[in-house]
């Protein structure tokens, strides 16, 4: 072994340790008061009155900072567009036959519960922890499971790529449309209660104005987007393995 890699290793160790020390000094610089100060105190005190949502994190994501959330989901949209363009060359592909019968039956029993879990996380995003991002990702995980266990042609038969495109674009349009309602009411882009959305009774399912609708929109976008990314990649994988007996991913 030459001495050059050791120098690199020691240098990177020193870099990591100094970065960690800086981060720990940042933790030490945080205020240690028991009382919540700054914008956090405003959110904790007024969220229930101003948005009607019980989940303060969800209220911040989809009401106070909804424009940031629109930007974040645009990032996912751009990533999906790029990956779909990158992998769209191969028209023909042969799907794998999937895993064994036991795995298929087991996943078949699990999938309805996973779908229900994802729906609950999206629809109750304004009441309990969760929201559009998390629930949409669970939807994408279900399609990933179907791809791996049943083969990608089965998955594309039940969730066609065209449907995913429509869902993703529909989520983006729904989000922007809700924002434009606020603009039309004269209270600013993506404004919630001020734009006339009903606040409902605090803590009930139908409350918090536009927050549940925006949750559903983001869930559509994220779920369809991530599952399109995985489907594009595994389509290429199946095409690359054409000369072998079809197997799943590993």
């Amino acid at each position: 072994m030459s001495s050059k890699p050791y120098i690199f290793r020691i240098a990177s160790l020193i870099l990591c340790v100094s970065l960690g020390l800086m981060l720990f000094r940042g933790i030490a610089a945080l205020p240690v008061t028991e009382k919540v100060t700054g914008p956090a105190s405003h959110y904790l005190a007024r969220t229930a009155g101003e948005t009607g949502a019980r989940n303060v994190v969800g209220a911040i994501l989809f009401d106070y900072r909804a424009f940031d959330t629109l930007g974040e989901s645009t990032v996912i949209f751009t990533a999906v567009c790029g990956i779909a363009m990158l992998f769209s060359r191969r028209k023909f592909h042969r799907s794998s036959r999937g895993l064994s019968f036991i795995a298929k039956r087991g996943i078949g029993i699990m999938v309805p519960f996973l779908l229900m879990y994802a729906s609950v996380i999206i629809l109750f995003g304004h009441l309990s922890p969760g929201g559009g991002f998390q629930g949409g990702t669970i939807f994408a995980t279900v399609t990933v499971l179907l791809c791996v266990v049943f083969g990608s042609s089965f998955e594309s038969q039940y969730f066609p790529p065209r449907t995913k495109d429509i869902l993703e674009s529909g989520g983006a349009l729904l989000f922007s449309g809700i924002g434009l309602i606020g603009l039309a009411a004269g209270t600013g882009f993506l404004s919630n209660i001020a734009a006339g959305f009903p606040a409902g009774t605090f803590g009930s399912f139908l409350s918090a104005g536009s927050v549940p609708i925006l949750n559903v929109a983001v869930g559509m976008k994220v779920g369809a987007g991530l599952s399109t990314i995985f489907y594009s990649m595994i389509k290429m994988l199946d095409a690359g393995h054409d000369h072998r007996e079809g197997g799943g991913i590993e």
Binding site: N55, V57, G58, I121, P129, G130, G131, F133, Q134, T137, I138, A140, T141, V144, V148, L226, I229, F230, M233, I234, M236, L237, G240, G247, I249, E250
Partner: protein, 87 residues
């Protein structure tokens, strides 16, 4: 939550992170990454951030592992994988 459990959690977090960065076998690194994600999600849940914990658990253990496995099976492997490739 008890202090000993937190120490256990943090020690295992650091250990799995070191394993991920040091191990040569990429497949083991990907699987260790999902273990790391679950431990980190537990830590987030204990620190009263359930939203972040949910995101961490779902994305790191579900989507990222699946995408990394697809990318792993598409890349050129060094010699040590030649016997595992034939399933």
């Amino acid at each position: 939550m008890s202090l000993s459990f937190m120490i256990f959690l943090y020690v295992f977090l650091i250990a799995t992170a070191l394993v991920i960065s040091a191990i040569n076998d990429i497949l083991s690194a990907v699987i260790t990454l999902s273990v790391f994600g679950i431990l980190l999600a537990t830590a987030f849940a204990i620190l009263q951030a359930p939203d972040v914990a949910l995101t961490q658990a779902v994305i790191n253990s579900g989507i990222v592992t699946a995408l990394f496995l697809v990318a792993f099976s598409q890349t050129e492997k060094p010699e040590c994988y030649s016997e595992e490739e034939e399933e």
